[in-house]
Symmetry: C2
């Protein structure tokens, strides 16, 4: 009788767009609503940035191999990353958790130790939240608030043709860490006597369990007087994020496989697992690096920063969204990143 | 070996205090952190209020008798209520949901219809959020942002001895609605042929499923130049909230049973279920009314507002926290409201 459309038909971003398309804003202070890393609210010239994330046990994390302290730390980091991606500075967070009785107070203390450590390190205040019981495993909801001068905010939609595409740090490590932990978990479940083999894998495990947010890059922009033309953080995978920048800026792009930054440890792990490091870099999520575009004349300002790689440039929309491989082939970029709906 | 403290030993408020007690704030803009209805952030004289709530299926709502549109509406309302409780005006919300595949897009549309309706009615903008899959039923996380002039914010801790204790609307209705729905659910599960008997119960069912936030009271304060000395919203039950005001203001109180506002419909329902209406008013939660204290000389400013009842007054801490019954007895108030940890 009534229509039934499966959520997977729309995908996560299609779903958000579908749900919010008819919604108008009332407040002049609402500068930017749904559709960027964070919402922006004007406060007398300074702009307040707000972003929120929901983390659900079994979907976003697995307590079997995620220490609670790391989880607390990461829950904060993923939200700060969204604030930095606006070229803003996070100032406050709220943290709500739903917990079952199987957690002791000591376990929660561990979780909050990680939360506080991240707050200390990034200089943000925990200002509120909510604890409630949960019959559904651990649920974490964080909201981060930040601020920026009005003319310093960087959106996703403002890249220009010819701009350089840059990325911070290296890519694919968190995905390889996840692959390793899932493999070790499987081995452990089959034979609990076998100890996990994590030797020499500190880097990729750290990328998964204890990521950092790239405050250093935002500080560097401020020191050097650099204004990216567009920016977002790499949470779903580089391909997916590059496509977002293209779509929202109504442009195409050209990305060079040989320029993708992949760490030696990630390359070694990819080799061990029989995975293509390029695919890990393009489609692996959760690296929490920044992808941004830059005017070509700003190139010299970043060239000495070893934490920034130029990986390509923006083109007219008609030229498509292309990956140029080492072998000289050209492929359409596709978003095969982690999809929250498995669609 | 390691110590294990059960969460129930601390209770929800004890737990929050325990988890956040060693946490210092870094930003001068952080005016008020954990421990009130909302956090307060200074923005150049105007103050930004932030509050967040996590709603979990099976804990905070039962989809068996909660229409999704109502649930969307209520998810917004419970957060706006916390903003009004600071004597502030909500301006924006973010909404994150975790959903399983059993929800169709049409079901989500219904939920968002309720969200938008509440946003429209209360003049707030939906500015962000997150959708993700959930293997744990429906999870809803809302953050509300509001603003107030710095000298207009009302905290919980600033009541004075002799102040009148006032409450808006009437109490106990939502709890009686919940009692009714749980009873009908039980009957239905035992015999699905029997149709629910909700005749003449519109009021209490509405109080449970589709509450309103008391913006009208905050508007009234502004029009009349009234500044409550302390305020919070009634979400856990009047007793519990009155005890919070006492603790945080370091005072005692005297509340008169005969002054507690209970609607005729609630009285009738209480009679039908064999419940004491006073107990429902004191310990039933989710009414989303406002409890506030007022200087005695302001009494004449509220006396004509039929939506406000004076139910008692604040005393020295030494005089205790007392309920004076119709029969002339005096009891200690106790917080038997809904406890998220069943403690």
């Amino acid at each position: 009788m009534s229509q039934r459309t499966e959520i997977a038909e729309l995908g996560e971003f299609g779903l958000i767009e579908h749900l919010t398309k008819n919604f108008e804003t009332h407040h002049a202070s609402t500068i930017l609503g749904v559709g960027d890393d964070a919402a922006v609210i004007d406060h007398f010239g300074k702009q307040t940035v707000v972003t929120t994330d929901l983390l659900i046990e079994g979907i976003h994390f697995d307590l079997m191999y995620t220490p609670l302290k790391h989880l607390g730390y990461k829950s904060v980091i993923v939200n700060l990353s969204d604030v930095y991606a606006m070229n803003a500075m996070p100032t406050q967070i709220t943290m709500s958790i739903g917990i079952s009785n199987r957690f002791s107070v000591e376990a929660l203390d561990e979780f909050y130790e990680g939360v506080f450590l991240a707050c200390e390190k990034y200089g943000v205040d925990l200002v509120g939240g909510d604890t409630s019981s949960s019959n559904k495993g651990l649920i974490i909801s964080v909201t981060a608030i930040g601020e920026a001068e009005a003319d310093k905010l960087v959106k996703r939609s403002t890249a220009q043709k010819g701009d350089l595409i840059c990325v911070s740090g290296d890519l694919g490590g968190a995905f390889l860490g996840l692959t390793l932990m899932e493999r070790e978990k499987k081995i452990y479940l089959e034979n609990p006597q076998i100890q996990p083999d994590l030797e020499n894998e500190d880097y990729i495990v750290g990328r998964l369990l204890r990521p950092e947010a790239r405050r250093d890059i935002i500080d560097f922009f401020a020191q050097q007087g650099i204004m990216p033309t567009a920016m977002m953080d790499v949470s779903d995978g580089l391909s997916s994020e590059a496509l977002h920048l293209c779509t929202q800026s109504q442009l195409g792009c050209r990305i060079y496989e040989e320029k993708l930054p992949v760490s030696e440890q990630s390359k070694a792990a990819a080799f061990k697992f029989g995975l293509d490091p390029t695919v890990c870099a393009l489609n692996g999520g959760e690296d929490y690096e920044l992808i941004f575009t830059l005017k070509q004349e700003d190139h010299e300002k970043i060239v000495l920063n070893e934490e920034i790689s130029v990986i390509g440039y923006m083109t007219d929309a008609e030229e498509g969204r292309k990956l140029l491989t080492r072998g000289g082939n050209s492929f359409d970029l596709s978003a095969q990143g982690w999809n929250a709906f498995g669609g």
